[in-house]
Structure formats: structure tokens, C-alpha cells
Symmetry: C2
Subunit: 212 residues, 2 copies
């Protein structure tokens, strides 16, 4: 797949690496091309750096990994241009600037707010409950038990592709239903933050959904 | 400990059994004593059945396992009488009558609503993210991995006791901070419902919080 990562911070740069290892073609999108090229160069020889619009144009799948506060994510969506025919993976969480609370919930979610801006484009929520520290080669599993990559969305075909990407990145994909269920996935991420940062447990942790 | 279970349905009756096995003294509280006695008899010879008020009066710890819809839980709290010096464990979720959505969230939680009714009494949220099917002897672990019993509350001493009870019931206790964080635990339970019922995955599943 041709995967573009928007926002190459902690989460974005790590997911980029995991997708490169899995054999995907990865482009980093940034507001300025120079910055994108510099980040891409750090990630590997095959990684391209492009402006938001060019990075989005060349991709099948676009990962949104930008901060939520100060409208950072919602403001950049229109800069991506026409996304018809592409899949958007929302990895964001509607965190307050200090990370310690969610600024949306119960009646909406960051996934739904993003989807409103790009009608007709399938949005899938994924990767938002996994800490960046766990998004490293060899760190996706704990004693052989893979961390779970929960995802949700309204487009079955897009979800199938995202499930495969979650597995490619080394996690166990678990479908959690419609995009509206991001209202439950985003609080789960905040729970993780409360344990890791609020209580000082650290981010070398992950949720696993166990079945038998 | 002297543990009273309010609401001996799927969750309450199973937790009662697990606490009996762990050597605790268990009382079932119901609106009518006859009903309480009948339920108690099914659970074991040592289990008592009492009215809400008497059941609460004799306990150190009171588990609330009643349905949320139609104000069922909030209406019965005053019937428990004076709870000073006791610990209340809130196992509820603010579910709609069809279970498929939460009726509270983001700005409050069922745990906080219960706490408002009993000022000065420590309320600890626990057991709400575990399906009743997993609350059975021998079913608390999946391939040797214990299901996680997340809990939160504002009273450190009460939380310590509840953590011990979670472990006594066969689960791994994980502290998630202040009672307000029930706003994140309750959506997590709804996520579980969406996967188990909404998508038909079934309830023989559990969350595990992995650390290393």
C-alpha cells in the first residue's frame, strides 16, 4: 500500500517505521516540504517527504497522527485536498493541551469530527489506544501476547484494509463496530494516559482483548 | 470481610460466589427479604438474605450491581440507610435499557452520581468492565493471563481494600486513579458490549492491561 503519515511525531514516525518494515511505501506529509523531507530522511532512504497536499494525493491510505488541541487536526484536513477514493485512518485523541483530559466525548469523537469534514471518504479509527513506546519493532507483544489494535468505522472495505495494516504493524486487530464507537475508544486512550502519566505507571503498557 | 451484594443478577450473583470461595462473609440485599433469602439459599448455606437496609447495615463493603436504566440504581441508594464507615463498590454502567449505549458520560459517570448521594462515603468503581461470564471460578484467566479488574476512587484506604477484593475474586487489580476516571471506565465497558453484543463476538472475552 501507499501510506501517507500526516504528523510525524512520536506516534506517526513509529507507525511509519513499522509500515516500512512491513513492505509498504511510506510518505511523510508536513506543511513545508523541507521539513517533510528532513523527517523522511531520518526514517529511511525509501521514505518520501511532501507537502500535505502532495503527500495525500499520492496515497491510498492516509494516517492522521497530529495533536488535537488548538484545532491542529481539524484545521489541516482541508489542506489535504480531495481525498475521494482514499482511506483516512484517524489515530488522534481529543486531548486537552496537558493531555490529562478529553475535550470531546459521549455525543461525538475526534473521528466523527474528522469524518464530517470529508463526506464520502471512509474514516477508520485506529492505533489511538496504543502508546508510541509500544509501536517499535519487537515491542508490540508482551511475553508473546500482542497488544490489541482496536479499530472502528462505517465502511467495511476500508476497515478490512485497516485491519490488515494493524496486523502488518505487529498488533492484533479487533473490530469494535461503527465509527461512532470512537466515543468509547477515545476514553479508553485517556484511561491509558491516566494510568501511565497520572499515576506514573509509564507508557510501556498495552491493552489486550482476550478471547477463548 | 463482610460483603453485601445489592442486586443479585448476572454480575452480583457471580461476584458473590467468587467472594464466598475467597472466604468472605456474603449477604444478598433485596427490596423484599423473602426474595433475598431465596437468592442467598441458591448461592450457599453460609449466605444470608436481607432487606436492603439490613444487608447494608451488617456490611463493611457494599457492592452495587443493579441496572442503571429507569433510575433503578440511584433510587435504591437512599434505601440502604446510613453508610458511614462503609465502602461502596460501584459495579454499574450507565446503560440504556437496550444496553447498546451509555446514558451518561464525558462530564459525569454513574460512579460520580452514586457518590453524590452518599457524601463522605468512599465509592470505588470496580468490576464494571468484566462480563459476568468471566466472573466464574476458573474463568477469570485466559491461557493463564488474568483478566484485569480496573478500579478507581478518591479514598486511598478504600481503594486498597477493593484492590484486595478484586484479587480475591481472581482478577488482576489495576488502579486507574480518581473516581472521575469512571468517565473512562464506563465507556470501556460499552466498548466491550459493542464487540460482544453489537458485533456478536460473545461475552467470553476480557480486557487485560499488560505491563513490562
Amino acid at each position: 500500500m501507499k501510506i501517507t503519515v500526516i504528523g510525524a511525531g512520536n506516534v506517526g514516525s513509529r507507525l511509519a517505521k513499522l509500515f516500512i518494515i512491513a513492505g509498504h511505501e511510506v510518505t511523510i506529509g508536513s506543511r513545508e516540504q523541507e521539513k517533510a523531507v528532513a523527517i523522511a530522511a531520518k526514517l529511511g532512504d525509501t521514505v518520501k517527504g511532501e507537502t500535505y497536499r502532495n503527500a495525500a494525493a499520492s496515497a491510498n491510505v492516509i494516517l492522521i497522527t497530529t495533536p488535537w488541541a488548538n484545532n491542529a487536526t481539524l484545521d489541516l484536513i482541508p489542506e489535504l485536498g480531495n481525498l475521494t477514493g482514499k482511506i483516512v485512518i484517524d489515530c488522534t485523541n481529543p486531548l486537552a493541551p496537558d493531555y490529562m483530559s478529553n475535550t470531546l466525548g459521549y455525543t461525538t469523537s475526534s473521528a466523527e469530527e474528522i469524518a464530517k469534514l470529508i463526506p464520502g471518504v471512509p474514516v477508520v479509527k485506529a492505533f489511538n489506544t496504543i502508546f508510541a513506546e509500544v509501536m517499535e519493532p519487537g515491542k508490540q507483544a508482551f511475553d508473546g501476547q500482542k497488544a490489541t489494535g482496536f479499530y472502528c468505522g462505517d465502511d467495511a472495505a476500508a476497515k478490512e484494509i485497516v485491519a490488515k495494516l494493524i496486523e502488518d504493524a505487529g498488533f492484533e486487530a479487533v473490530d469494535t463496530g461503527v465509527l461512532k464507537n470512537a466515543r468509547y475508544l477515545e476514553p479508553m486512550a485517556q484511561l491509558n494516559i491516566q494510568i501511565a502519566y497520572g499515576l506514573g505507571g509509564g507508557t510501556n503498557v498495552a491493552f489486550r482483548y482476550m478471547r477463548r
